[in-house]
């Protein structure tokens, strides 16, 4: 600045400024840390370092030194730290146990071809596989039992199914309400409507899940007469409740930010309120409304408790009235029973990383579109 301000140095001021700056980087730091630490636990899956094959070629404890550290880590399912820290004798005992465990496997499992494969390889994670007792190749998520099946496709399908139902229900309602509140309602009514709808976002998702489980499921079944009481349809509708306030407030914001000159010009030319809203304001605000839907999608695929409480069976089916298990549900329900550091644990973290990536992308798209839209309305390039 051109003004000569101080006559003395102010180290305190300078320090405080730097401190404020450093603290403000915390948001960036947190996003990076989330990404790093969720991905870190999932890395062995990406690099194929986990092995779930039931029957493995045992390494005799005497030959321990002949193998590389990486091989031993994968074999004993431990981290490099642990390998470095544990004394030789403990490692030996662990290897003895491993050999004994191999000897204890019942004979009929030894002949099962499935017992020899590593189910955490990518081809078993995403492609259908014909398991021993099945007639055709199938997508199966079944992380318990002797042979653990980790195909993530049923979970992805379950997530998309529930999310799409939720969005199909929530987007028209929320956008309709946004049009009404921002364009058609009287100012006094608007003052009341906006906070009232936003209050919906104050209901915790566990309460929405509870309501769906106890009240909605029964009511909807008596209306539609479907077989499974708790299914993707109920979960999707309940999910819609949670997403409506998100979509509503972003869409309402976009519609309100359309310059009043547009509306006034249209009204002066004789257009009715509805014509103005539908043909002038909505097209102008369309990017914002689209962004609202995208951000709603991000919120919906990340929602946990509602789907967890309403449906849980992982069935590979696109039918709306079947149960569905979403990615979030799977993580929430199975993390407690997964052995820390084991393949199941790692795959759950990998699912978390996928989810993070998906919401990251949808947030980025949503924010980018809104940013462009606002700049355009303000006449900036």
């Amino acid at each position: 600045m051109g003004i000569h301000r101080g006559h003395k140095a102010r180290p305190g001021e300078w320090l405080a400024e730097k401190f404020i700056f450093l603290v403000s980087l915390s948001a960036i730091l947190m996003v990076l840390l989330i990404f790093l630490f969720v991905a870190r636990e999932a890395l062995p899956v990406f690099f194929g370092q986990t092995n779930t094959a039931l029957v493995q070629k045992p390494i005799p404890p005497d030959e321990m030194d002949k193998h590389t550290a990486a091989e031993l880590e994968a074999y004993l399912e431990i981290t490099p730290d642990q390998l470095a820290k544990l004394p030789k004798s403990t490692l030996r005992t662990m290897m003895d146990i491993k050999v004994e465990a191999q000897n204890d496997i019942p004979e009929d499992f030894r002949n099962d071809p499935d017992a020899h494969i590593n189910t955490t390889e990518w081809k078993y994670l995403v492609a259908p596989h014909r398991w021993n007792d099945y007639e055709k190749p199938e997508y199966i998520w079944q992380p318990v039992g002797q042979i653990k099946k980790f195909n993530i496709i049923p979970l992805v399908v379950g997530t998309l199914k529930v999310t799409l139902i939720g969005l199909l229900f929530a987007v028209p309602l929320a956008v309709g309400a946004a049009i009404y509140v921002s364009q058609l309602a009287r100012p006094r009514v608007r003052e009341f409507l906006k906070p009232a709808i936003e209050l919906l976002s104050g209901i915790p998702s566990v309460v929405v899940g509870f309501f769906a489980l106890l009240v909605m499921a029964t009511t909807l079944q008596s209306i539609f007469h479907y077989q499974t009481r708790l299914n993707a349809f109920v979960a999707g509708l309940a999910l819609g409740f949670a997403v409506i306030p998100v979509i509503f407030s972003i869409a309402e914001d976009a519609l309100t930010s359309v310059p009043r000159a547009y509306t006034q010009a249209a009204l002066a030319l004789g257009a009715s309120r509805w014509q103005t809203a539908w043909q002038i304001v909505l097209p102008a605000a369309l990017p914002g409304v689209f962004a609202a839907a995208v951000l709603g999608f991000g919120r919906a695929i990340g929602e946990t408790m509602i789907v967890l409480m309403v449906c849980s069976a992982s069935v590979m089916s696109w039918s709306v009235f079947d149960s569905a298990r979403s990615i979030t549900t799977t993580i929430a329900a199975e993390m407690a029973e997964a052995v820390s550091g084991g393949p199941h644990y790692r795959i759950l973290f990998m699912l978390g990383a996928l989810l993070f990536a998906a919401t990251f992308v949808s947030n980025m798209i949503g924010d980018f579109v809104i940013h462009r839209f606002k700049n355009k309305l303000e006449g900036k390039r």
């Binding site: 400024e17 603290v23 403000s24 309602a185 998702s205 309501f211 509503f248 929430a332």
Partner: protein, 329 residues
């Protein structure tokens, strides 16, 4: 839209204006306009209907089951029994984790907001990255925060603390109240930042300029002029963060919540019981849902009263701040 010919819109010499107005009105009535306006109005009503149904259902069913005994009792191991159960440990646990969270999130959030509004240049790339990070943090799924808490706070920080402090057994490297609170603090950081920023922007720039012109430094201006003015907004941010965090279950699933504890949490490394998680347990793991229904409704009502009271206060303060903002143009 219909076009009018001059003979229609130019007043005839002898016609009275009232008739013209009436014709104009009559022509303006458009069935489709009316229909679609009604449709959007119905959508609004429907959403309000959902809200009202949920709230009424819970209040009507929950009110009769709430009693002083219910909110002040520590339940025995079998908390599905409607006569002896209580929710005291859950209320204490939820409040405790939320208070610890506030201690961490408010300073960081407020300082970040101060940087963004008072110091940062609005066009710099760094500012845009910070804003993008804040927006992204707001969109990360809550269960991913849970995974993060497990992977970072418990498995990384907690385990290393145990090593450093030479604890033979895991003290910090296991689910604990402090880790749940920190996870929630990371999750609610954007809420605090956005609300504080909004209230900082609502303060007229003239106030800052006057203070600077009188010789105050920038820091003095912020501490003595800007922050006191922004207090309602900061409170809103804190309240919204608390009400959001109080109802969240997914982030604490792996970071600190306990299915059952015989005593109240007393230490930061203790696990705790939680209202939201208790609702989940009661509604999905009850041996007899008909018998648990009253206590389930009562628990939900307690949680809702907690979050809604906070929400309504926040909405009221925010409405006032927004009005001020609008008055400034």
């Amino acid at each position: 839209m219909n076009t009018l010919t001059p003979s229609e819109y130019l007043p005839e010499k002898n016609s009275d204006t009232t008739r013209l107005t009436r014709n104009f009105r009559a022509e303006k009535f458009d069935f489709w306009s009316f229909f679609f306006s009604g449709l959007t109005g119905l959508a609004t009503l429907f959403i309000l209907g959902i809200l009202a149904t949920i709230l009424l259902n819970i209040i009507v069913n929950g009110w009769s089951a709430i009693s002083w005994h219910f909110v002040s009792t520590i339940p025995k191991k079998d908390f599905f029994d409607a006569n002896t159960t209580g929710v005291l440990p859950m209320i204490v646990g939820t409040s405790f984790r939320v208070i610890v969270m506030t201690i961490f999130v408010i300073p960081v959030g407020v300082i970040t907001a101060i940087y963004l509004t008072e110091y940062a240049s609005h066009t710099s790339i760094l500012t845009r990255i910070i804003r993008a990070a804040v927006n992204n943090l707001a969109g990360v799924p809550s269960i991913v925060f849970g995974l993060f808490g497990l992977g970072f706070f418990i498995n990384f920080i907690g385990k290393n603390m145990d090593d450093l402090l030479h604890h033979p057994n895991a003290v910090w490297g296991q689910p604990a109240l402090i880790w749940a609170s920190l996870t929630l603090a990371v999750m609610t950081l954007p809420v605090v930042i956005v609300a504080t920023e909004e209230s900082l922007k609502a303060i007229p720039p003239g106030l800052r300029e006057a203070s600077l012109a009188l010789g105050a430094t920038k820091l003095e201006t912020i501490l003595k002029i800007v922050l006191p003015q922004a207090l309602p907004g900061i409170m809103t941010g804190g309240i919204l963060a608390v009400s959001r965090a109080a109802g969240e279950v997914a982030p604490i699933l792996f970071t600190g919540v306990a299915y059952y504890m015989a005593s109240l949490p007393a230490h930061l490394s203790d696990q705790f019981m939680d209202l939201g998680y208790h609702i989940f347990v009661l509604s999905t793991q009850s041996p007899n849902i008909e018998q648990t229904r009253p206590i389930l409704y009562a628990t939900v009502l307690v949680l809702l009263m907690l979050t809604f009271a906070l929400n309504i206060v926040a909405i009221l303060i925010r409405a006032r701040v927004r009005k001020k903002l609008r008055a400034l143009g």
